[in-house]
Amino acid sequence: MSSVRDRLRATLSRAPGGGTAVASGVGEVPRRLYADSGPADRLFRGGLRAGGAAVLAIMSLVGGFLLYRAWQALRSAGASFLTTAAWEPDTGNFGIAAVLTGTVLIASVAVCIAVPLAIGTALYIVEYAPPRIRRTLVSLVDLMAAVPSVVYGLWGLFFLQGKVIGLARWLSTYFGWLPPFKVDGADPRDPLATETVYTASTFIAGIVVAMMVAPIICSVVREVFSQTPVGEREGAYALGATRWGMVRSVVLPFGKGGMIGGTMLGLGRALGETIGVYLVISPVFVIQPHILQSGTSSVSSLIALRYGEASKFGMSALMAAGLALFLMTLVVNFVASSIVARSRSGATSDS
């Protein structure tokens, strides 16, 4: 790049004078290209830099403070912080094994449900929908991404909870031999069995979170799909492809990076979701691998649950849990945005 730039510079400096300025001698140092247009401009630059510095300061304050306050708890707990399931910071017996498992399970259920829906919807908007309603649909999906999470939480708590029990019972009856679908204490042959073993489960929380992240994934994927080159599309058609043949051989390969990146962005959001999960689940502090069984927990709902009664050390422990969650979403988001940026479409992931 730089060599091209140098040559270009030489060319351009030669061009207007008609060959007079060919002073590119042997020991020429590249000049610094900088137009200084007075003190007002320098002040302006200074102001901008100060703004950047302020944001940097705020952001590093958040990260640094989290790390600093979490350090106390992390040092006293050591490696058992990752392996302990209970959360009793004041007796020194605490760890994030249970809450982290719950968080990851809820997010995985959410992503498993949201991704097919989101990709299907994105394909529909880009490829199948009549052009007249396309903009409306895009606005609708964007609006859904802005719906407050407490609204989804209300829906999950008062509507979904009751409706999904039948599905949960059916799944556990016929697929109970798979470990994730097993439900302890449920007897499918007993007609009078209580249904409460199926409520407030990872599964329901996952559906609620899926509703929240599906619009986000959908808008990233749609953005990428819509950038597929027209020439390649019509080339596929010209070779006799059906619409699905075109989608499979042009749109999906082109949008692969966007699909992966969008999924991971959704995963990052799902990991950090608080209120929707907090309203639905009933918190337990044991590792709960059965997604249909009542009782689960997540890092963010742990914080929302315990911040009020926390002692100074308990606060530090909560900070450590928050830090672990933040690190997880951070890694997921960075991987996502680098995948999206490296893909052929290079769409920006702004959500």
Binding site: G51, L117, T121, Y124
Partner: protein, 469 residues
């Protein structure tokens, strides 16, 4: 010079072909025509001894050596390309409709037969699922009578995509409509908006008490948060675009990292610093600080994307007229991006208004109206919803739904405003705006011509940069 032309086709064409997909970028298969042409513009920019704007910050740098395009071909292709809006290629025939209707009727009747007569199946969800699977089977059968294998697969996938989209969009619309519907019993009472909960207990009917405190609290908190985030966010976004270099890239990375910050952790941070360490009470101020920490990265990133889309040619034009950088930013970049920036801020506001978790930790809860953010707890709409629905009393839950419906309406309003204000590309001028600019331009011309001849040269005036597009 010739070799250079071969490698850098962008320079031979006009570097400022803003929106239309230009041939070089298309051959590069880069899907951002604007970005591609901007990059060409920036390269030209550098060599014209204007400070480098943002060559390093772009995530997808051009590789000029890969395209070897003779300029004439490039122009021809650009001409051909300019006509490529996507063409509608689908055709619907009568037999397709017959197949859909026939398969629908067949699957409905077969499922009904299965559920009522032949087996012991029951349940609404099961009915839908079995009916859907049967529909797919019948449809494939019907289509296969007069199409070949790939076409049958195409139809099946088409049905699948349509049903996915229908399922998701219905589910999403249903969530919103459900909230508004459940809130219908609370909303008609006028006192719901004019009173607070100070005199209303959990057992009081809906004719007593309301959410005035939450509405006002939300407005105060989001107003304070906007006071913090809008100036800081815009300055930072302009900084990211105007001052390139390692420092700028570092700030961009940090901002990107902070978009990953879970909102509850933002709340926890403010709770631990402002409330526990500094000793401020739980108050509106603390809540708006927490909202700010959460909103700031969102606003910065959205504004950054919008400012990046401002065509480089506009900027260059103002530099060429001799404008210093601050004038170029103030009179060209920001006005061009105004619509997009407004959208960015409004959508950030919509996100901030709806966030419950940072407020939950920092605002405290009260039943009385509190307009002073400095002292005492202050409730906002999402927090009030959350606290209402935790109560076992039916009227309180109804109040919760009413509050959620109000919040939803507020978000909807913000969103519609954002669509009306924004939704236009950078530099896109409405018809009224174009007329206004034409008038201003004619006025300028009259003024310039009426001026005595030896005018002060050199200093560009505000008018000369304003009428660029």
């Amino acid at each position: 010079m010739n070799g250079d032309t071969g490698r850098m086709p962008h320079l031979t064409k006009d570097a400022g072909a803003t929106p239309g997909p230009d041939a070089a970028s298309h051959l590069e298969a880069s899907a951002h025509p604007q970005r591609a042409s901007r990059l060409g513009a920036v390269t030209a920019n550098e060599s014209a001894t204007v400070p480098v704007t943002r060559a390093g910050a772009d995530p997808q740098p051009m590789r000029p050596t890969t395209t070897v395009v003779v300029p004439r071909i490039a122009q021809a292709q650009a001409h051909a390309q300019s006509a490529t809006a996507r063409r509608a290629t689908s055709t619907v025939r009568a037999t397709d409709a017959y197949a859909v209707v026939g398969a629908g009727v067949a699957s409905l009747s077969t499922t009904a037969l299965l559920f009522t007569q032949l087996t012991g199946f029951s349940g609404g969800l099961g009915f839908v699922v079995v009916g859907y699977v049967l529909f797919l089977a019948f449809y494939a059968l019907l289509v296969s009578f007069d199409e070949d294998g790939p076409a049958v697969r195409d139809r099946i996938v088409s049905v699948g995509v349509h049903s996915m989209a229908a399922l998701m969009l219905t589910a999403l619309v249903f969530v919103v409509v459900y909230t508004l519907w459940e809130g219908r019993t609370a909303l008609p009472h006028l006192n719901f908006f004019t009173q607070d909960m100070a005199k209303a207990g959990p057992l009081d009917p809906l004719t007593v008490g309301g959410i005035r405190h939450a509405v006002l609290g939300t407005l105060v908190q989001i107003g304070l948060a906007l006071l913090i985030t809008v100036p800081t966010g815009l300055v930072c976004a302009v900084f990211l675009n105007e001052v390139p270099g390692r420092y700028g890239r570092f700030v961009r990375t940090i901002v990107e990292a902070m978009t990953a910050l879970p909102s509850i952790v933002a709340g926890l941070f403010v709770f631990a610093t402002v409330i526990l360490a500094i000793g401020v009470d739980k108050s509106g101020l603390a809540a708006s600080l927490a909202i700010s920490v959460m909103m700031l990265p969102i606003v910065i990133r959205a504004a950054d994307v919008v400012i990046r889309l401002v065509p480089g040619t506009l900027r260059e034009a103002s530099y060429a007229l001799g404008a210093p950088r601050w004038r170029a930013v103030w009179h060209v970049v920001l006005p061009t991006a105004r619509s997009g920036l407004t959208t960015a801020v409004i959508l950030g506001t919509a996100r901030g208004v709806g966030e419950t978790s940072p407020v939950l930790l920092t605002a405290g809860f009260t039943a009385v109206t509190n307009l002073d953010p400095g002292s005492g707890p202050m409730v906002s709409l999402p927090l009030a919803t959350f606290e209402f629905v935790k109560s076992p009393e039916h009227t309180m839950i109804v109040r919760g739904f009413g509050t959620a419906a109000t919040l939803m309406a507020l978000v909807l309003l913000l969103f519609i405003v954002a669509r009306v204000v924004g939704g236009r590309g950078p530099g896109h001028v409405t018809r009224r705006g174009r007329r206004r600019r034409a008038l201003a331009s004619a006025e300028d011309l009259r003024r310039i011509e009426s001026r005595p001849r030896p005018a002060a040269a050199g200093r560009p005036t505000e008018e000369s940069t304003r009428s660029t597009p």
